[in-house]
């Protein structure tokens, strides 16, 4: 219990302290110290528990050990639960107040529905439901803790230098950096709470905190655009939150009776997963028509919906794109280790009870897979037409989350292996990419890819980091590509034919938009002046560290898979009788690993070395000889301009969003229609009193 408590309390306390710190120097030391402490603790916590079984430090059976002292779990949990409820009500009032101030009716409406519903449920039923384990830390949670602790705190440390420059650029208004850092660390605390919660009411509390943190971070600059986009994010996530509340109400109200005794309502995620898995196993051995227990299916759909809004899947992707108005470290945090990862975390966690065993098994997994697959292909294509670097990154995030969601929807152990791999690689690489783009923006004054040509000449070190990040996102033999390969393998093995189509077309588009960006930066443009000296020392440290981590994770993944991911899958899927856990064979992983090393060695040995005579480029007619101009008519020097290709007519962004949105919207309509049918049935069941 000790270390977990610290992992939540340290960021929480630090965030409160930072709210009151005005001086740069004090803030710098606190953030760096806290960052190191959180990262070190999460590494220690994860590594020391990777070998063990699932941790249940807050259980009714064993009580709670808190730094050597024992407490009874029940009363303590009640105090915590009431505090959470109180905070939720206060936050709802805050949202309603802000909603009135900025005239956002939807935000008010959603708060007015979900919070009273939750309060009613808690007061009437919730507190009577026995909870066994309030916290459950399996190996997947440990992986998430590691990602949040290491990458999240790295981003916070990076923000120090960045936000200093940022407030210089935006010097109008007062310095709101204390508030910024308060939100960043609060975010980390909430994320850690979220990934270890087993009680869904607790998880929902942390879930809503992350929603609000991102709302305040997106609206940080308080410009009309920022306010608008922050409310869009808030409304979409509150919608997901509402589904979460419904899931809690249903899970707590239903009487589970199919396997070994009756349980009158449960709020434990682990119970739902067990119950659903047992049903699935019975269904496959005894040949039921459906492989998912209906009520668990309904809860899974509601939770998956919450996850889908948070993971910004189409048609809800607009909030993540709108989040670009925030300072770049916020984007880095939202995209890599927090927020969207909370969405996919929940869906991946649900994977054992999702699952589509074949094309015609229309279970909850089926709809999740469609949403993910459609999002992957259309966001990948939408990214082609973008020249704003942050928008390219955002579409790439949405697309990759789509892939993760699709994998989780398929719900085989192999697919989840691929999904976890994608989560890890994406977190590391995307944080690196956002922080690089942020640094570039502050130094060249633009985040447009067109302005990054010849970046190698201007910011050589940063260009190398950025190139590592981009290559790691799509190029063999780096992490994301291997994960995609694993995803493809799991799609084929589970017979999800049409997702394979989504994957191959989406991957082709992915290749296109990354490489043309890469090409822009690798172009050798003469007469570029090195302007790198203005980058802060902390920024270099973090960028270098994340680059090393990006390469390091790829190289060490085969071993990490063996020692952590496979044991998790064995726990989660072993009961379902699955025996294949790795989508890719170890020999292939190791060959890829060797190729990563080969590329690094080749680049170190041969890049930029030539004994050849360097001559001007060809420019048809008379080149001026400086590679930048040619002699045009009337003997005038004409500068050349090279622009990348965005294929806006062939793949318009708006159209891609519309297609993805309409397809997924239709899917949602069907699912909710189906759910309505179920809720009528549920009502009858509740009145009848039992299954």
């Amino acid at each position: 219990m000790g270390v977990i408590t610290l992992l939540i309390l340290i960021p929480l306390i630090v965030s409160l302290v930072l709210l009151g710190v005005k001086s740069d120097k004090a803030r710098g030391s606190i953030v760096i110290a806290a960052g190191i402490a959180i990262a070190a603790l999460s590494v220690y916590f994860a590594v020391s528990n990777f070998g063990g079984s699932v941790l249940k430090p807050f259980s009714s059976v064993d009580g709670v050990e808190f730094f050597g002292k024992y407490f009874e779990a029940g009363p303590l949990a009640e105090v915590i639960g009431n505090a959470m409820l109180g905070i939720e009500v206060a936050l709802a009032i805050l949202i309603i107040g802000l909603g009135i101030k900025y005239k956002k009716i939807l935000a008010i409406l959603l708060s007015l529905i979900s919070t009273p519903l939750l309060v009613w449920f808690e007061l009437t039923k919730g507190h009577e439901i026995a909870v066994g384990d309030y916290i459950s830390v399996d190996k997947f949670s440990l992986i998430m803790v590691l990602i949040i602790g290491v990458i999240g705190s790295a981003i916070c440390v990076f923000s120090l230098g960045y936000m200093k420059d940022f407030s210089h650029h935006h010097s109008e208004g007062k310095d709101r950096r204390p508030f910024f850092f308060f939100m960043m660390f609060l975010f980390l605390a909430a994320m850690i709470g979220l990934v270890i919660s087993n009680n869904m009411v607790w998880m929902f509390f942390f879930w809503e905190i992350t929603t609000l943190c991102s709302f305040f971070l997106i609206g940080y600059t308080k410009t009309p655009e920022a306010v608008n986009n922050s409310f869009r994010a808030l409304i979409i996530n509150l919608l997901g939150g509402l589904a979460f509340v419904f899931a809690i109400v249903v899970a707590g109200s239903y009487t589970y009776g199919a396997f070994g005794g009756t349980t009158n309502g449960s709020l434990e995620l682990s119970f739902l997963l067990d119950y659903g898995s047992q049903y699935k196993l019975a269904a496959t051995t005894q040949g039921y028509a459906q492989t998912t227990e209906p009520i668990v299916g309904l809860i899974a759909v509601l939770l998956a919906f919450a996850g889908i809004t948070k993971a910004a899947q189409m048609p809800f992707n607009s909030w993540l794109l709108g989040a670009m108005v925030a300072p770049t470290p916020t984007s880095a945090l939202l995209h890599s280790s927090t927020m969207v990862k909370a969405g996919v975390f929940l869906i991946v966690k649900l994977a054992p009870v999702l699952g589509v065993s074949n094309l015609f098994d229309i279970g909850p997994g089926f709809f999740v897979t469609i949403i993910g697959g459609v999002t992957f292909v259309f966001s990948s294509i939408a990214a082609i037409s973008q020249s704003n670097a942050k928008r390219v990154l955002a579409y790439s995030t949405v697309a990759n989350l789509g892939l993760i969601v699709a994998c989780a929807g398929i719900g085989t152990a192999e697919a989840v292996w691929a999904a976890i791999m994608l989560i890890i690689f994406h977190a590391v690489t995307k944080s690196l990419l956002f922080l690089c783009v942020g640094t570039v923006e502050h130094n060249i004054g633009s985040r447009d890819i067109e302005d990054m040509d010849g970046l190698f000449g201007r910011m050589p070190k940063l260009a190398v980091f950025l190139i590592i990040g981009i290559a790691a996102m799509f190029l063999a033999p780096f992490g994301m590509l291997i994960s995609k390969w694993a995803a493809l393998q799991s799609f084929v093995d589970s017979g999800n034919v049409w997702v394979i189509l989504a994957l191959v077309f989406g991957s082709a588009a992915t290749l296109f938009y990354w490489t043309k960006w890469l090409g822009k930066m690798t172009a050798v443009v003469p007469d570029r002046i090195n302007i790198e000296d203005k980058v802060h020392k902390t920024e270099w440290g973090i960028l270098g560290g994340l680059s090393a981590l990006t390469l390091g994770v790829t190289i060490t993944f085969p071993f990490f898979s063996k020692s952590v991911v496979v044991p998790y899958l064995t726990d989660a899927f072993g009961a379902l009788g699955e025996t294949t856990y790795e989508a890719l064979r170890m020999d292939n992983l190791i060959i890829m690993m060797i190729m990563v090393v080969l590329i690094i060695v080749l680049a170190l040995l041969f890049y930029g070395r030539t004994e050849k005579r360097i001559v001007p480029i060809y420019m048809a007619g008379t080149a001026a000889g400086d590679n930048l101009t040619y002699v045009g008519s009337m003997q005038k020097d004409v500068p050349i301009q090279l622009r990348n290709w965005y294929l806006g007519d062939m793949f318009p962004e708006r159209l891609m969003n519309r297609i993805g949105g309409v397809v997924n919207g239709t899917v949602f309509a069907i699912v909710f229609g189906y759910m309505l049918y179920w809720s009528v049935l549920l009502y009858q069941l509740l009145r009848g009193g039992g299954a």
Binding site: I500, L518, D587, Y618, A620, W645
Partner: protein
Amino acid sequence: MDTVLFTFYGYELHVSYLVGAVLYVVLAPFAGGLIAGIDRKVTARMQGRVGPPILQPFYDVAKLFGKEKITVNNAQDFYVMCTLIFMVISGVFFFSGSNLLMMIFTLTAASIFLVLAGYSSNSPYAQIGAERELLQMMAYEPMVLLSAVGFYMACGSFNVGDIVMSDAFSFKYLIGMFIGYLFIITIKLRKSPFDLSMSHHAHQELVKGLTTEFSGRTLGILEISHWYENVFLLGFIFLFFARGSLPYTILGVAVVIVCYFVEILIDNGYARMKWQFTIKSAWIVTLIFGGGNLFVLYYLQPILAR
């Protein structure tokens, strides 16, 4: 005869795999050069010319290596070298019976290095060539991946070694994939109407496209890597017919020869089309033939699994 030399996490290195890989590395450039020579000869005959000697490609490359050592920057040679290295590696994967997807991804990496070589020059012609090369990759990539998936569904393995020795006559199940692959290999072999990024023909509006800024040795290395590439692109066609026995091997080789002849015919029979046509037609063909075949395979799976 086919003993296992050693095993490595489930991978068994057969003697035949080792022999295949070594033969590929040593012989592929000769075979590829020869194919290029025959291509030029046949093309010339189709155009009513006598054409160069069959060995002309080798003379050309030898001459390129003797040229003055110049380059436009210090980065380009690195990328071209990586193109060659990864091209050879992907061919080695193919001929040593390894994973088909791994081979495809490595091939993609090789092609990306080539594109970067074009971009790195920052020259107008080379950059437009590089962008078009990228577009071509986007056009053919889905079909290449789908073909691999097709083999997996038909033969139960992604490993080239297993596919070659499989009992299943892949072609029977993969007719759609085969048509799709033939379509996109036209792009890959840089034949008209899809030779957008660079061309052997004299109808280039982009000077020499992607390769405009390559000279001497660099161009020679690139040519050799194309030879390596073409050999296993044709090997991929052979895979549709391989069944581990002599008659099917002969059939496979015959089909490869016929297909290549058809490619030359198409090359000479068409003018270059616009890029829009390239991507649209390739993706539509992939969807209809590749995707259609995939769904058929899905229904056939219970039969195939038997």
